[in-house]
Structures are given as structure tokens and as C-alpha cells.
């Protein structure tokens, strides 16, 4: 046998990787043509993509933006010698605002638009933790400043514009002048911080319905005051009655306010200071406005409800457990369309006669319940994936059930469930188009209305393509955000 002992006397220097594995050529070879099968697949895919584009591009590049009817489109295309071979974009040009807003009164459309932009301002502090408070408030003032130009001019609006413009300029100046680190230094030395932007998020919850549906400003204020009443009741009673009892009493106090005292309060305040927006009825809502309203509210409500249901399903309290299981299994076992029919027709039968229970609100409730049942299962999956050691460590440190859930269990379980949660969100958002079945004019419902117009009878692809594009923008953003969030929450390596 040969002698196998070996001692390295000189350490090897670091060298460049071989040329063929780097650069464009290396990448192409590694990713597209490594092996016979892969090469064949690459060539087939390229051929397929070419085929698709060769059909789509000539069709969609079509000079029909100004056409006023399908016939006019045909004439334009005929003049260029491609009678059936082109898209008729005139319908989008003429009806895009209807697809966005439905029959929402035109002169009031700045309200949903403002609501839409404010939605982003309200979501930013929840979605991203790296944006500074100043940036967030700057964004809010910017949106409000922009909106002030959409409102009819009056002496008051001029003042509002000037105030907003000045504060915008000031905020922008401070943002440009001091960078984040300097600002952090100043705050350490005791400079005043701007209020947490989450305050605006809380206000937005009440602002949104008011902007969309209009009416007296005192209704949302009164609704918000209900929470204040409950909170005050809790703070006052907690030292006397203990936590649980005062929580129950606080809920009762808020309930009394909402059910009994809201009417007199709004009546009184309307008498004193009749401030309000022109009311808009629910049946005028339509298009993306309708889909987004239902989708956003149901998404925001279904996550907390789903978490509660998932915890209920795992609870040791038998009644809570069976209620949760029953709810989840029932809702998941029934098609959403059935629930929507229940919302549109049956609920009226059960309601005391004369109650006016808004149809959009009813649909939102059904969509929320539907999504929360799925959400509960997604979250349960995340909970099941956590090792029991996490529960034990939290217990051993003396954290009680709710603190352990909030600080240790849920942050991890939700992080595991992000892909499932976002899928549920996306599914829910797309399911909002089902409301066309009960006569609400979501984009799909509107497209039928548009096609019923003689001028556009026969149009299909352009409308559905446009609607698909709108939905795709939102769902794609959601899916990108979830990938960003997963990356941000990774803690297993540097």
C-alpha cells in the first residue's frame, strides 16, 4: 500500500471562478441550456412565447382609442385593411371611469379617489416599519393637498389650500434638511416626535365610510366615541371591579352608547353644527370602487376574526371549541354565492321590518365571515407548525395565555402562515366579483351593462382584459408585498 499521509505546506490562494460560469453567457448556459431536455424545453417555451406575442401584439396595437362605437372601430380598422384583426379601445376610453366608479355621481368622485389614496397613507405604518413618521405625515398632507384641488373653490377652500400648502412645504423642508440619523439624534436629546401615524390609521377606519357614503360628520364621530366610552369605562372600573368584569361592563357601556345614545347625540350635534357631505346611496357604488370597498374591509376584518377562530378551535373550553369548529366547517362547506344570496334576500326576512340594513354592508359581512373561516384554518396550520417548546418557554417565563399568544406564538405562527394568508386575501379580493350575481355592479356586472349598450354590443376581450389588468395590479402588489414581508421577517441567518 502507498503511503497516504499528506501535509499541506502552503495554503492555496483564493482564485476567480472559471470564465464560463460567470457573465451573461455563463448564466444562459447554466439556466437555459444545461442538458438536452432543458434545451428542448427552453426552445419550445421561446417558440410558445413568440406565438402568443405574435397574436397579441398586432391585435392590441390598434388605432381605435377615439372610436365612439364598435362600428366606428370596424371602420377605422377596415380603412387600415385589418377588418377583424384589431382591438377596439374606444370602449375603454369612453367607459373607464364607469368601470372604476360605477354610477357614483361624477362631481363627487374625488371622494372615493381621496379615500383610495388615504388608504395607502393609512396602511403604510402597518405594512412597513422602516418608513419614518415624518415621511408618513408628509405623505398624508400631500394627498390632502392634492385633494383640495378637486373640491369646488370657495373662500374656505382657499384657506385650507394655503394651510396645507404651507405645512407641506415645512414638512418637506425638514425632511430634506435633517436626515433620519440626525433626527434620531435630536429625538434622543429630547426633540418632540411627531404623533404616531397609526393614529391616522385609526381615524381612517371612521373616515372611510364617511367619505364614501357621505352624510353628517357626526355619525362617524359618534361611532368612534363609542370606543372612547368603552375605554373610559374600562379605565374607571378596572381598579374597582377587576379586569374581566370591567371589560364586560365596558363592552356593555359601549353597546348602550351605540344602540341608544347615538341617535340623540347625532341629532343634537346636527342641530348645533350641521356639517356633512352629500350622501351617496349604496346602489350607486360600482366598479373597482365597489370591489375595493368590499375587498379592503373584508380583508382587514377577516384576519383578526380568523385568528380568534383559530385560537377558539384550539381552546380547552369545549363550548368555544365546538362553536369555532362548527362555524368554520359550516362556512367552508357552503359556496360563497349561497352566502351572498342569504345576504341579499334572506337577511331582510329576519330583520325587523323597516330596518334599513345596507346591502354593501351585508355583503361585506358575508365576505368577511367566508374569508375568516379559511383564514382560521391557515392560521391553525401556522400554530400547528410551532414546536411545543415555544409554548413551554413562554409558560415557564410566567407569561399568561394572551401575552404568550400576542408576544410569542402569534408573531411566529402568522409569519409561517404569510403565504396562506395572502392567498386567502387574493382569493377574497377576486371573489368580490361574485356580487354581480346579486345585482351589484362590480366591474364584471358593469361590463354586462356596457355590452348591453347598442354602441358596444359585441365587445368582449377589451373589457375583460382591462378588468383583468386592474385586478392583476392589486393582486400582484399583494403577492409582492408578502414576499417582501417574508424576507424582512427572516431571522435564521444574517
Amino acid at each position: 500500500m502507498e503511503n497516504t499521509s499528506f501535509v499541506r505546506t502552503e495554503m492555496l490562494p483564493e482564485t476567480e471562478p472559471p470564465r464560463s460560469t460567470t457573465g451573461v453567457l455563463g448564466w444562459i448556459r447554466d439556466n437555459l441550456f444545461n442538458g438536452v431536455l432543458n434545451s428542448i424545453l427552453t426552445i419550445l417555451s421561446l417558440a410558445f412565447i413568440y406565438y402568443l406575442l405574435s397574436m397579441l401584439l398586432p391585435w392590441s396595437i390598434s388605432p381605435t382609442w377615439g372610436a365612439k362605437s364598435l362600428n366606428e372601430c370596424r371602420e377605422i380598422l377596415g380603412a387600415t385593411g385589418r377588418e377583424h384583426g384589431g382591438a377596439c379601445w374606444g370602449v375603454i376610453n369612453e367607459r373607464w371611469s364607469q368601470i372604476l366608479y360605477g354610477f357614483y355621481p361624477e362631481e363627487l368622485r374625488w371622494r372615493p379617489t381621496l379615500t383610495f389614496f388615504l388608504l395607502f397613507v393609512a396602511m403604510i405604518p402597518i405594512l412597513f416599519n422602516m418608513i419614518s413618521r415624518r415621511m408618513n405625515w408628509l405623505l398624508l398632507v400631500l394627498v390632502l393637498f392634492g385633494a383640495s384641488f378637486a373640491v369646488e373653490n370657495s373662500a374656505l377652500m382657499v384657506v385650507v389650500k394655503i394651510v396645507l400648502g404651507l405645512s407641506l412645504a415645512y414638512l418637506a423642508y425638514t425632511v430634506v434638511k435633517t436626515d433620519r440619523d440626525d433626527r434620531a439624534e435630536q429625538i434622543k436629546e429630547g426633540a418632540k416626535r411627531l404623533p404616531n401615524p397609526l393614529y391616522f390609521t385609526a381615524i381612517y377606519v371612521f373616515l372611510m365610510p364617511w367619505l364614501l357614503w357621505g352624510g353628517s360628520i357626526w355619525s362617524p364621530v359618534a361611532a368612534a366615541l363609542g370606543f372612547l366610552v368603552g375605554w373610559l369605562a374600562f379605565r374607571l372600573l378596572a381598579p374597582i371591579a377587576g379586569n374581566l368584569a370591567s371589560l364586560i361592563l365596558a363592552v356593555i357601556a359601549a353597546g348602550v352608547w351605540w344602540l341608544l345614545l347615538i341617535g340623540p347625540f347625532t341629532g343634537l350635534m346636527n342641530g348645533l353644527a350641521p356639517i356633512g357631505l352629500i350622501p351617496v346611496e349604496s346602489r350607486l357604488f360600482g366598479g373597482m370602487l365597489l370591489s375595493l370597498t368590499i375587498g379592503v374591509v373584508a380583508i382587514a376584518a377577516s384576519l383578526p376574526l380568523g385568528i380568534v377562530l383559530a385560537l377558539g378551535r384550539k381552546s380547552d373550553l369545549l363550548i368555544v371549541k365546538w362553536l369555532s369548529v362548527g362555524f368554520i366547517e359550516f362556512i367552508r362547506g357552503v359556496p360563497l354565492i349561497t352566502l351572498l344570496f342569504v345576504a341579499s334576500m334572506l337577511l331582510n326576512i329576519f330583520m325587523p321590518p323597516g330596518t334599513d340594513f345596507d346591502i354593501i354592508l351585508r355583503v361585506i359581512i358575508m365576505a368577511t365571515l367566508f374569508a375568516s373561516a379559511y383564514m382560521a384554518e391557515v392560521v391553525r396550520g401556522g400554530l400547528a407548525a410551532l414546536p411545543t417548546g415555544q409554548y413551554e418557554a413562554a409558560d415557564a417565563l410566567g407569561l399568561d395565555y394572551w401575552k404568550a399568544q400576542r408576544l410569542v406564538i402569534m408573531p411566529q405562527a402568522l409569519k409561517i402562515s404569510i403565504p396562506g394568508i395572502v392567498s386567502t386575501f387574493i382569493g377574497l379580493f377576486k371573489d368580490t366579483t361574485l356580487v354581480s350575481i346579486i345585482g351589484l355592479l362590480d366591474p364584471i356586472g358593469l361590463s354586462s351593462t356596457i355590452r348591453a349598450d347598442l354602441a358596444w354590443n359585441g365587445i368582449v376581450w377589451e373589457l375583460y382584459g382591462f378588468i383583468a389588468l386592474l385586478f392583476f395590479i392589486f393582486t400582484f402588489l399583494m403577492s409582492r408585498y408578502s414576499m417582501y414581508l417574508e424576507r424582512r421577517l427572516r431571522t435564521d441567518h444574517s
Binding site: 413551554e392 413562554a394 409558560d395 415557564a396 417565563l397 410566567g398 407569561l399 411566529q412 431571522t491 444574517s494
Partner: protein, 261 residues
């Protein structure tokens, strides 16, 4: 069985066993379903004691010390920790748990929080300590376990030995009066075992009341004032370490010692 000798002389100046009772377990029984896992356990632990519990796999060592902070419920008999009896009253349970620290075999750090946040979580939310003060305490204990430079990292970025020392520091941040260890070194490589044992020895030197389930007999010989041998859910023999190792009484103990030494 690996015997990790710690090279250092043990400073015994603060190791006093007082006559104050820390834990009193009387006629305690526990079943898992119909399986009688702990049988007639009677054990009194005085303040300042360092007890090592050993015994074959499945003998109920983990279950016993998990009963002491009620990670497991016992069915008959009583367990009194620091004057508080463990019953189904959750208030008592949470109180005992905040007085008793526990270190697990698999560390059980919270992976979504940084090391510092792991250490400050319970003091802030259970003890209501202001954040700043909690962070100072946390840094103090991180220095004690010799990894202050890792405070801003996540547990997943540390070695096993470092994670276990963080776990010990996390328990210490609650200023516990009693520490429970359930095989704190058996998921670790030999060189890491030493760093964790050194930390535990320092703790013992400061007079902490400790109950350790461990197979580190070197640690037991040097640090423990009492060794308890369990088999089939019962306490079979207990004695001070030199007697226990050199002069075991029961046949089971002799067999067990012959297998691991």
C-alpha cells in the same frame, strides 16, 4: 457517558444550604392517561441546595421537574414552591413560574426576537420593569454568560452553546429564586458543554437553588450537594455525591452507575 471536567477550583464561600424550605413535594403522584409516571414522590429542597437528578431514560426525571413549575399537572399529593401551593388556580401558577426559572434541553429561545428582546420580554410584560432598566439587566446577565456582543443577533445566528447560555440568561433576567435545568447540555457538542457547565457552576457559586437533570457526573460530583437517582417513576436513592458515587446502596443504582461511568 462523556465526563466534562471543569478545570477550575470551585469557590464554595457562598454555597450555603439554609434551613428555609424552597420546594416541598409530598406524596405526589402523576399519571399520563393510565401510565403511572411518578409514584409517591416526597422531596424537600432547601434554599441554596444544588440537586442533580439522574436516572435511566423514561424514568420520569423531566416530568418531575416540569411538575415543579406546572408545565405538567400532578394528580394527587401536593407541591409547594416558595410557600405557594400549585393548584389549578392560574394566579398561583403564574406567580410560581415567575419565581422559578427553567432551562430546556433544546433552549426554546424565541427565534423571532433578538437575543436582547428574548431577555427583556418577560421582565417587561410580566414584571412590568421599564424597558430601559430591563435592557440594562439583560446586558448585565449577557456579560455574565460572556456573550454581550451577541445582544443584537437573532438566536438562529448563534451556536448551540451560545443559545443555551442566552436561555440561562433569559431565565436569570426574571431574578428567579430557583432554577430548573432539564438536560441543558445533552443537545450540545463537547466543547460547548463546557461553556454551559461553567455558567451553571458560576450560578451555583452565587448560592442559587438549583435542580438539574443531567448526565454530567463530573458536574454532579463537584457542584451538587445531593444526587437523586430515579427509576420507574420513583426516587430510588439519594445521597451526597461522594457517597452516592463511591458507595451506592441499591442494586439499580449500582447497575445504572456501572453503565454510565
Amino acid at each position: 457517558m462523556a465526563q466534562t471536567q471543569t478545570d477550575r477550583e470551585i469557590d464554595r464561600s457562598h454555597m450555603h444550604v439554609s434551613d428555609q424550605v424552597a420546594i416541598e413535594i409530598t406524596d405526589m403522584n402523576k399519571w399520563f392517561g393510565s401510565f403511572h409516571v411518578l409514584r409517591d414522590i416526597n422531596l424537600t429542597v432547601y434554599e441554596g441546595e444544588r440537586i442533580v437528578i439522574c436516572g435511566p431514560s423514561g424514568s420520569g426525571k423531566s416530568t418531575l421537574i416540569r411538575c415543579i413549575n406546572r408545565l405538567e399537572e400532578h394528580q394527587t399529593g401536593s407541591i409547594v414552591v416558595d410557600g405557594i401551593e400549585l393548584t389549578s388556580d392560574l394566579k398561583n401558577v403564574d406567580k410560581v413560574r415567575s419565581e422559578v426559572g427553567m432551562v430546556f434541553q433544546h433552549f426554546n429561545l424565541f427565534p423571532h426576537l433578538t437575543v436582547l428582546e428574548n431577555l427583556t420580554l418577560a421582565p417587561i410584560w410580566v414584571r412590568k420593569v421599564p424597558r430601559k432598566e430591563a435592557e440594562e439587566t439583560a446586558m448585565h446577565f449577557l456579560e455574565k454568560v460572556k456573550i454581550p456582543e451577541q445582544a443584537r443577533k437573532f438566536p438562529g445566528q448563534l451556536s448551540g452553546g451560545q443559545q443555551q447560555r442566552v436561555a440561562i440568561a433569559r431565565s436569570l433576567c426574571m431574578k428567579p429564586r430557583i432554577m430548573l435545568f432539564d438536560e441543558p447540555t445533552s443537545a450540545l457538542d463537547p466543547e460547548m458543554i463546557k461553556e454551559v457547565l461553567d455558567t451553571m457552576i458560576e450560578l451555583a457559586e452565587e448560592g442559587m437553588t438549583m435542580l438539574c437533570v443531567t448526565h454530567e457526573m463530573g458536574f454532579a460530583e463537584k457542584v451538587a450537594n445531593r444526587v437523586i437517582f430515579m427509576d420507574a417513576g420513583q426516587i430510588v436513592e439519594q445521597n451526597e455525591p461522594t457517597e452516592f458515587f463511591n458507595n451506592p446502596q441499591s442494586e439499580r443504582t449500582k447497575l445504572f452507575l456501572s453503565q454510565i461511568l
